[in-house]
């Protein structure tokens, strides 16, 4: 396999989807998520939590009980669905639509993907989306135009 050149120290960001947030909330994340978090810790990568995921999961970040349950989650950076993010999400949904549907992927999935693309653009390195729904996420990701940024994002199935 021919790949990208090795750049030591590239931050490996982790973008948290619904299932990953659920695992972090229980305080017992499964091995694949822990590996991703270890990679972030080893490289100075960020743990990114899209705000749409917080709503979908009905998660209260300020709940003292939840905070005590998992300190990793408290360290996450919230990614807001700004108007710029929303516009990019709309574009991805339109470009990834199937034959029968007007738009492709859910609003939350689209936000997760644009949050990952945004993390790479802002902080460099790579981003891995930790999700239980790799199919829809991958379709949305494949709709991203900027190949250099798109290929810096991978999808990890939980």
């Amino acid at each position: 396999m021919k790949g990208r050149p090795l750049r030591r120290g590239e931050p490996a960001h982790v973008v948290v989807d619904n299932e990953a947030l659920g695992q972090l909330g229980t305080g017992r994340p499964a091995r694949p998520l822990l590996v991703a978090l270890e990679a972030a810790a080893a490289t100075g990568g960020r743990v990114v939590l899209p705000t749409c995921v917080i709503v979908e999961r009905d998660h209260n970040r300020t709940d003292p009980g939840a905070a005590a349950a998992n300190r990793v989650l408290r360290n996450a950076s919230a990614d807001a669905l700004t108007s710029a993010r929303a516009e990019e999400a709309v574009t991805l949904r339109r470009r990834s639509r199937g034959r029968r549907s007007r738009v492709g992927g859910s609003v939350v999935d689209a936000h997760v993907v644009v949050a990952a693309l945004g993390a790479v653009r802002q902080f460099g390195g790579t981003a891995t989306i930790a999700t239980s729904d790799p199919g829809d996420i991958t379709r949305l990701l494949d709709a991203a135009v900027d190949i250099a940024v798109r290929t810096s994002v991978t999808v990890q199935s939980l």
């Binding site: 030591r8 120290g9 490996a12 822990l34 978090l37 990679a39 080893a42 300190r71």
Partner: protein, 138 residues
């Protein structure tokens, strides 16, 4: 873990209040480098650069500490270094992703030698090994 909670509480408040001057002893060369970076337009100001770097490092330390706290309670959860290195190879789309056995073998070798190794160094060693192998084959 009260100290870690204090750290996380403080990180939660970053950006919510006005900045204030603080006194810090920095290597003069570091200050010169920061000023040069600002002059190049790479950073808004020395203060912004210092704050951003400090924030990023504190976040990294907090994540490291939170994970170590988790492993202290659940030692079996700690992933092997080779698995983390393989994850990085996948995320970076490096050729090492096709050679997980080589990654593991190099890790086992360093362990046998009693030399601790981090995922980044293991990855560099694996990519280097592959590159030398390609050179020999050519």
């Amino acid at each position: 873990m009260a100290e870690l909670d204090d750290l996380l509480d403080a990180l939660d408040r970053v950006g919510t209040g006005p900045g204030r001057p603080v006194s810090a002893h920095l290597d003069p060369a570091l200050t010169d480098a920061a000023r040069a970076a600002v002059a190049l337009g790479l950073a808004e100001s020395v203060s912004a650069l210092t704050g951003a770097a400090l924030h990023a490092e504190l976040r990294r330390l907090a994540l490291r500490s939170a994970l170590d706290d988790h492993y202290a309670r659940h030692p079996a959860d700690k992933p092997p270094v080779a698995e983390v290195a393989y994850f990085l190879a996948t995320a970076r789309r490096l050729p090492a992703v096709d050679r997980p056995n080589l990654l593991t073998a190099l890790y086992d070798m360093t362990e046998a030698l009693g030399a601790g190794i981090d995922p980044e160094t293991l990855l560099v060693a694996t990519v280097g090994h592959l590159t030398i192998g390609q050179g020999s084959a050519a």
